[in-house]
Subunit: 567 residues, 2 copies
Amino acid sequence: MRQSATFIPTLRETPADADVKSHQLLLRAGFIRQNTSGIYSFLPLGKRVLQKVETVIREEMEAANSVEVFLPALQQAELWQETGRWYSYGDELMRLTDRNDREFALGATHEEVITSLLRDEIKSYKKLPLNLFQIQSKFRDEKRPRFGLLRGREFLMKDAYSFHATKESLDDTYNEMMQAYTNIFTRLGLNFRAVIADSGAIGGKDNHEFMVLSEIGEDTIAYSDTSSYAANIEMAAVKAEYPKSDEALKDMEKVSTPDQKTIAEVAAFLDTTPEQCIKTLVFKADDDLVIVLSRGDHEINDVKVKHASGATIVDLAEPGEVQELLGCEIGSLGPVNLPSSIKVYADNAVKSIVNGVTGANEDGYHFINVNPEKDFSVEAYADLRFVQEGDPSPDGEGIIQFAKGIEVGHIFKLGTTYSEPMKATFLNDQGRAMPYIMGCYGIGVSRVMAAVAEQFQDDNGFTWPDIIAPYDVHILPVNMKDETQRELGEDLYELLKSYRYEVLLDNRIERAGVKFADADLIGIPVRITVGKKASEGILEVKYRRTGETFEWKREELLDRLQQFFNK
Amino acid sequence: MRQSATFIPTLRETPADADVKSHQLLLRAGFIRQNTSGIYSFLPLGKRVLQKVETVIREEMEAANSVEVFLPALQQAELWQETGRWYSYGDELMRLTDRNDREFALGATHEEVITSLLRDEIKSYKKLPLNLFQIQSKFRDEKRPRFGLLRGREFLMKDAYSFHATKESLDDTYNEMMQAYTNIFTRLGLNFRAVIADSGAIGGKDNHEFMVLSEIGEDTIAYSDTSSYAANIEMAAVKAEYPKSDEALKDMEKVSTPDQKTIAEVAAFLDTTPEQCIKTLVFKADDDLVIVLSRGDHEINDVKVKHASGATIVDLAEPGEVQELLGCEIGSLGPVNLPSSIKVYADNAVKSIVNGVTGANEDGYHFINVNPEKDFSVEAYADLRFVQEGDPSPDGEGIIQFAKGIEVGHIFKLGTTYSEPMKATFLNDQGRAMPYIMGCYGIGVSRVMAAVAEQFQDDNGFTWPDIIAPYDVHILPVNMKDETQRELGEDLYELLKSYRYEVLLDNRIERAGVKFADADLIGIPVRITVGKKASEGILEVKYRRTGETFEWKREELLDRLQQFFNK
């Protein structure tokens, strides 16, 4: 492509409203532009990178026996009503009515559409399994669009859906998808982990997120420093052991703790440690108020409370509700002398506390020398806290560390979450109608592009990996008014194109400094400068990622490029 | 692809609700499914064809120096308000509000978006011309979606927009696009014409439609039987000459014509011909009522009335308005004795009528022996009628004939229709700010697929041209339980894939009749049956389009295929 005929609006200054490196550079190097909050246009260079990401994904999906389809973005409300998501999805689902006042959703995801498509067509277990994917724009009205392509409202996604007669078949496909995703992100050069994750609004149970490790990630990953174990911090199990001191149990005693509210304040005031304190929280678990206990230095994880209590929705109780239940403020709560109607759940660590401290359910007072079982009883002990750095990894290998991650992919075992309400059934080998067992597998295509952009850059611009660089080679005739340079530039351009290289020729009449700065910004792997030595047939070459420079004779160009690209 | 792993739900019966051949067969052969009125899913075979159409378009657009971008479907209302189309586009534009009650349009077309993108970035004539295209889903809420993919509400479109500093530059790009479109439709094997067309809602002047000739077309094309002239019937100029009889002018006379209302009735009652009658219609041209005359055997073309009168909106007047203006019913209208405030436009043919017939503006009466100029006067004579079969072609070569056409592409010279209201300007070589001069160029990608499907089929199914067939070769082991057949089928499958053929292997355990019928339906160019002669290494081959059959030895397979595909 001749640079004069394409559209690469580079910027000298960093746009003020761009909050992360990838977004800043995608704007500065002319890859994208924002249309309005969370909505972007891909300019020619951005579109090329996006298309290459798509190609890698398409190749690996097809290699894993997933077949491409193309489903509509306009989805009739009736489908979403069948699964109830029309009501539960909330404001993120964009909705509209057509000229006849029929309601539609704009595709945020396609479980309903594809399930409705198959239920009319696949009626026998003999035609299963089936794994279908598409690459298509998705619409989600994010409350806070940010970080450019990382959290937009209209974005490109690869979504795949698999259909099975048996759980074993789903397991096989899930594992194939796990491998396909690993291949995709590896080929794209990303530093990522497959992370055990919560499933969010999609439903279902087993699922993994693919997280690119990055300081701007919005999620925290707990991973083992020696094994491949990684989990979303909300999902990481705590397998720590809590040895119990053999100190003698003392008698509980109420003490005045005026104005001491936080664990840290109370511990300091009573000359003890947060580890000796029993933190007490009140949660609303569906319609009941329950008490949850943890050690003072631990944080309670509401996802685990949800599992332990068996409730569907779990939230911290409001101060007013707490006051009404126990007659005190939140800083003075404790598990002693509770009405027997209130269930108490405690984290495993609480069981080992000896002669601890807890609130007296009376403002300004705490109990000291409190001992579980002796002074209060517990419905159940369970793993209820967030994992912490330094905890043992739950797989028994190594120590937990934290990292921030950008979610770029997500694979789920949906089971029959969608097929059951939608009555999407097949006849099994006994002739019985059974709901499809389903999986779904997503990759944020435009988000992947941003994640790569975040990782592959230096102070001067992008350092794209070969596989998704917008072009292979950038040719810069320094002075387009010099006939020798101009003609050699054009010759090399035609030559390399004929060898199937993707080439950008900077045929603009611009100062050399502008051309070099733009080339660094754009970040094409190999830059060939045609300058003063053009007349001697000598080319100045720079590898963008390493910064190495060379002088190549024109006649060795093809060999050298072949070596560089391993072609 | 192994057929067991993909999704090709063929149907034995023709779906009752499919109204045209392409739609019926796309459903029967399992290429598409309808989700709801005007909205379709592309199943694996349909997606493959669609992608190949895209590839042809992409190649030809790039060869013509158009550069690919990807713009959002969600377009903020403010952009459409700048050009006024937010108000004028009507119900076809789908609209929604986001969670903050901001209004959006779903992209029906992208003039506003792309013009807004460039106006901030391209500020000098030195960076022009620029031609950008995208391939993307478009949304138009058609009043009557029909004919399957031919008139849908969500459909895939290639749209391109060019930006110029001069009209000459626009002319050059327009001609390049004309050539690119000709290449595209020629490569796809379509029988098409580039037709002079009206511009519809997009605005602008010079424009051509690319029409595939087809009996199911919704538009009528007037074309020359000997030259390349072709025009939408609304736009075809009439260059007929009307020799005037040398009969002596008689005196006008009012005659009673009770209950004779149509031209045919009046002519028969008065024993004359429709050619001798002066048909009189009242149009509302913007705010004025005007009279338009034509010969009784001609039809008045309101597009031409619009041009002649200089009005923006032209419509037939309501009977009530006519009654109020002239005091009679529509069947008795005439141009004699009109108030001088009413303008009269007449088609050129009227000028040559001698001693004609026309209504007397009195119910039940007509004038005979009416002569233009003598008995009534005319504001202007012009070409105001629809062309008819048998008229001379306006380019002076041949005779006009009619055909029905499916519009698959449209190229426009927009001029400054969008850049002016959007204040999208560049500095010209004098340093003056000028609005971009623009062109736009569309192809209905999914509609092209349907047009090819309409043309390439026989009684048994599709006969796809090689270039967009879903696969190159279909291998059918007749009996998958026969080890020789199964293994040879698999061997050939792997062999041909390694030579980069796209192969579908029918590895289903099905009766031979089902396999053959499905293969004919799907329409892959070369079918290789692996049957009883497999043990002798003999393959039964059928060319789908011609129906020719052959026996090939296994070792000659590659050569033969190479010959077939000219590879």
